[in-house]
């Protein structure tokens, strides 16, 4: 085991006792990157020959260990703004874009002493996708099987954690973009409650669904990272102004007497039999740990994907209107303004982005708004209500994260609808705004990780950490390393 293979909380204890120093961690990360990055492609615009790997704030590396993440390397998804460091959303249209400001999460990470890697992690262009194949830099490969996708859109962040190319990573989740790649890569990933983490500086995909969240090797690290990035931000009107609980303390509690709901809708549609079996085994494990298991219903689950693809694309078509070549990014000059816009956007956006902009524009356009957008918003209300109702009786819900394990690179590229359906179990949490975590609960015969999703009440991330941590304390899945 190298330092880069350890968890943040383990490294922090070694730092505290001065057995190691922060530079050693960074060096270990750099060596690992040099060794495996060519096979994985977790990062974009990375010079893997540079040693140690470039960071945004190396000057702050100290020997002290006072702050919560002092000396811990964190990788950042390419859609989160870092002042003066390229942030391109893995899109040609943002070619050369160096934000003049830091996202709030970056400011918080810096304040917490984290070492931020300068190269960003790979993602589907503008986070539109479930496989990281829609990146203008090419796909990220799954560390467990390099012919498979890493999931998406935060595939780079998940793969980097999985391959120990970073200790912690930040991703964003609009319909499963943290949890599904975490599941495919066998790591822990959480989408916090909408409003828990500031979105200021996150290049928006769908504003009413987006949320920044942590990816880590275990639940403890995940809690640690959320502790740092969570909280009210006066720059984001949608963050809630309540105190952030102590998530580390929540890890200490056992799960005796809590009630876990199992929504039946998550075990029927297109689910892989092996995945189903492994998830049921995990549920058995939770039962053994003292939780009460209760079968529940989330009646409108079936409609989550169509609702999502209306709302998410509508908001995306609006959010991406600003990429027009006037103030930043790519510009293709042309004889007149309209043609400059159309050529710039026609060239700068990839196929999936165009698809979603067109769909989103269509559902908002004159004559179609009521039939599509308004209807979707109403069904969203019903989906949200399903959760409110069920959380009157249960403390959290447990489901598979994804109906399948990581699929082959190229398998779904030409079938957008099939690709969309791979998010079928993760989308509802975004529509309802509730928090959800994914953690590894076993492996298939092909040695591919299977993910367990725990969904909680709004602003009750503590319950998710508590259950997930209890599970990890009694299982070893999270300690397995991919064969690199």
């Amino acid at each position: 085991m190298e330092l880069c293979d350890l968890t943040a909380h383990h490294l922090l204890s070694l730092l505290k006792t001065k057995e190691i120093n922060a530079q050693q961690i960074l060096d270990s990360i750099s060596q690992r990157i040099k060794k495996v990055e060519n096979q994985i492609k977790a990062f974009v615009r990375l010079d893997s020959n540079r040693f140690p790997v470039e960071t945004i704030n190396q000057h702050t590396i100290t020997t002290s260990c006072e702050k919560i993440l002092d000396g811990i390397p964190v990788a950042i998804k390419d859609n989160i703004c870092t002042e003066n460091f390229l942030t391109e959303c893995c899109s040609q249209i943002l070619q050369g874009f160096r934000p003049p400001y830091d996202a709030t999460v970056i400011t918080k990470l810096k304040e917490a002493g984290a070492i931020i890697l300068a190269a960003k992690t790979n993602m589907d262009e503008f986070a539109f996708g479930s496989s990281t194949e829609n990146s203008c830099f090419g796909p990220t490969r799954n560390p467990w099987d390099k012919t498979k996708v890493a999931g998406g859109s935060s595939g780079g962040s998940a793969a980097a954690v999985s391959a120990s190319e970073t200790i912690l990573a930040i991703g964003s989740d609009t319909g499963g973009s943290i949890r599904q790649p975490a599941c495919f890569c066998g790591v822990v990933g959480m989408k916090p409650t909408y409003g828990r983490v500031s979105r200021y500086g996150l290049i928006a995909f769908a504003s009413s669904l987006d949320q920044i969240g942590p990816l880590a090797k275990d639940v403890h690290d995940c809690a640690l990272l959320l502790q740092v990035i969570a909280g009210y931000d006066p720059k984001d009107s949608t963050t809630i102004n309540i105190e952030v609980p102590n998530y580390i303390a929540a890890l200490e509690k056992d799960i005796k007497g809590i009630t876990i709901g199992i929504p039946k809708e998550y075990f029927v549609e297109g689910i892989d039999e092996e995945v189903k079996t492994i998830v049921y085994e995990a549920i058995e494990e939770l039962k053994k740990l003292g939780a009460t298991i209760k079968n529940v219903e989330l009646k409108h689950t079936h409609y989550a994907v169509p609702v999502y693809y209306i709302i998410a694309t509508a908001e995306a078509s609006s959010n991406l209107a600003r990429f027009d070549g006037v103030r930043y990014g790519l510009r293709l000059e042309s004889e007149n303004l309209i043609s400059m816009y159309s050529k710039t956007r026609g060239r700068g956006f990839g196929a999936e982005v165009k698809r979603r902009i067109l769909l989103g524009t269509f559902v908002l356009s004159h004559g179609y708004y009521d039939a599509y957008y308004l209807r979707a918003q109403k069904v969203r209300t019903l989906i949200k209500k399903d959760f409110e109702d069920v959380f009157k009786y249960v403390d959290c819900l447990v489901t598979p994260t994804s109906p399948t394990t990581a699929f082959a690179i190229g398998e779904k590229v030409n079938n957008p609808l099939q690709m969309y359906l791979s998010d079928i179990f993760t989308i509802s949490a975004n529509l309802a705004g509730v928090p959800a975590i994914s953690l590894c609960c076993g492996f298939t015969k092909n040695k591919l990780p299977v993910g367990l999703q725990i969904i909680g009440k709004a602003f009750d991330e503590e319950m998710l950490f508590r259950v997930a941590h209890a599970y990890q304390m009694h299982t070893q899945w999270h300690k397995q390393k991919p064969p690199l």
Partner: protein, 95 residues
Amino acid sequence: MKPLSQTLQYVAKLSRLDLNENELQNLSQQLQTILDFIDQLKKVDIANVTPTSYAVDITNVLREDLPITSFPLEKSLANAPRKKDSFFVVRKVID
């Protein structure tokens, strides 16, 4: 309803996207599939249901009217594809 390819051209214009013939054809097919899939929402009873526009119920987030220091010009213009003096520049726009 208008044929999808016609609607698609209208929507492409509305969203300022240059699409070639090939793209138009592919997209037209793919969007048809997606729209057919989305149509299942017509089965849901949405009578008396209010639409959800926000993920969580937050209201009345207001800022005091206090000035901040604006950005220095170099910073504001740093990413501009074309600029002159203190301005962003595009080819002449006709009213």
